[in-house]
Amino acid sequence: MSGKMKHTGIAAEFNPARRKFLGAIAGVASVTLAPGVILYGITRSGDARARKPGTAASPDVRWGLLIDVNHCDSGCDKCVSACVEENGLQGHGRPATDPQWIRKVKIHDPDTGLSQSLPVMCQHCAEPPCVDVCPTGASFKRADGIVLVDRHRCIGCRYCMMACPYKARSFVHEEIEDQKTYAPRGKGTVEACTLCIHRVDSDRLPACVEACNDAGGGAMLFGDLKDPNSEIARRVARYASQQIRGDLGLDPGVRYRNLST
């Protein structure tokens, strides 16, 4: 195979205004992949370590989220709109069949009167039931803990949606056009939150986390749960946190702080 890298002159086309904006929020890292090919990205706070191109996701990493419910404003859904924008999830105005990868859930405790609001998305379980039940192996867990649907194998049986305790998955009920190049999705297959895998693989934060930070909420922290020096690992070690339906023993990678259930 005589693979020759093709150079497309990215640096020139990269929108300077956007670049400045991105730089302002997180600092732009640039990595030279090959002469002329430059990789831009926003570094994750604290633990910048983009995987080298050509290497596989590592089982030494487990990506996770820590969501502080006390910092989540019930009137805010910036994380949701960021997800829709990033992944091109604009619906058809039919709420029952339009997909939702992340949603804000309001909970109210009838005994105490406490009300809370929190985002719920795919919980990226260590023992995902969706992966167990999938007949073709389309549902799978990547080495670094991200649970995905391989749409090349998905036959649209929707068994994973029956098995998921979090109602995290959506079935694409209609034709989709103008997908994002980095987020392919199509009619007749099942999809869910990918933790913005295209961003994570290039050392950027998931869109929801970035949006929450931008909005000054700071309720969402993304990082490697297996790296003892990462911010998320330090925080879950220091403060009590919990998983939704932790009783099911699925060990989700998404954890919540100050959740009153």
Partner: protein
């Protein structure tokens, strides 16, 4: 038996009638003494593709398929045989100065696949043109290449 023969003749006549009709949009080329109908394949950008044209013509599907599984399931990125890169480098501008989607017969992949009568379902899920970003000023632009991320 004679019925079958009549049927075959009818099919042959039908094909002879239909096939040249389909090929009218296709340029004709003299190779030796033979006149050959060729697909109108738009050129990509840059000097050359990620591999020799001959190799790509015969093996692009295998390379794409192999790399796709590596990327989706193992997270291996940055390798040369990326559908996203095909779409970006071979984008064809339409009348509105924006890259055409696979809905247009001029689309790079479609031009050849129509000619070869091989149907593909890649673009039922994948974007068939580069991402279009809209600036605050309302100016549309196209982002090309892996460097976006």
């Amino acid at each position: 038996m004679s019925l079958r023969r009549i049927f075959i003749v009818l099919v042959a006549v039908f094909m002879a009638w239909v096939v040249p009709g389909e090929a009218q949009t296709v340029p004709e080329k003299k190779i030796g003494n033979n006149s050959v109908l060729l697909p109108a394949i738009p050129r990509g950008q840059g000097d050359h593709c990620v591999a020799d044209a001959d190799f790509m013509r015969r093996n692009h599907m295998t390379m794409l398929m192999h790399q796709r599984d590596e990327t989706v399931r193992q997270g291996i990125r940055g390798k040369p045989f990326s559908l996203k890169e095909c779409v970006a480098c071979h984008a064809v501008e339409g009348p509105d100065a924006m890259p055409v989607t696979v809905a247009s017969p001029q689309h790079f992949c479609r031009a050849c696949h129509d000619y070869a009568a091989v149907s593909i379902d890649c673009f039922q899920c994948h974007a068939s043109r580069p991402d279009v970003v809209t600036d605050a000023g309302g100016q549309g632009g196209v982002v090309r290449g892996a460097a976006r991320e």
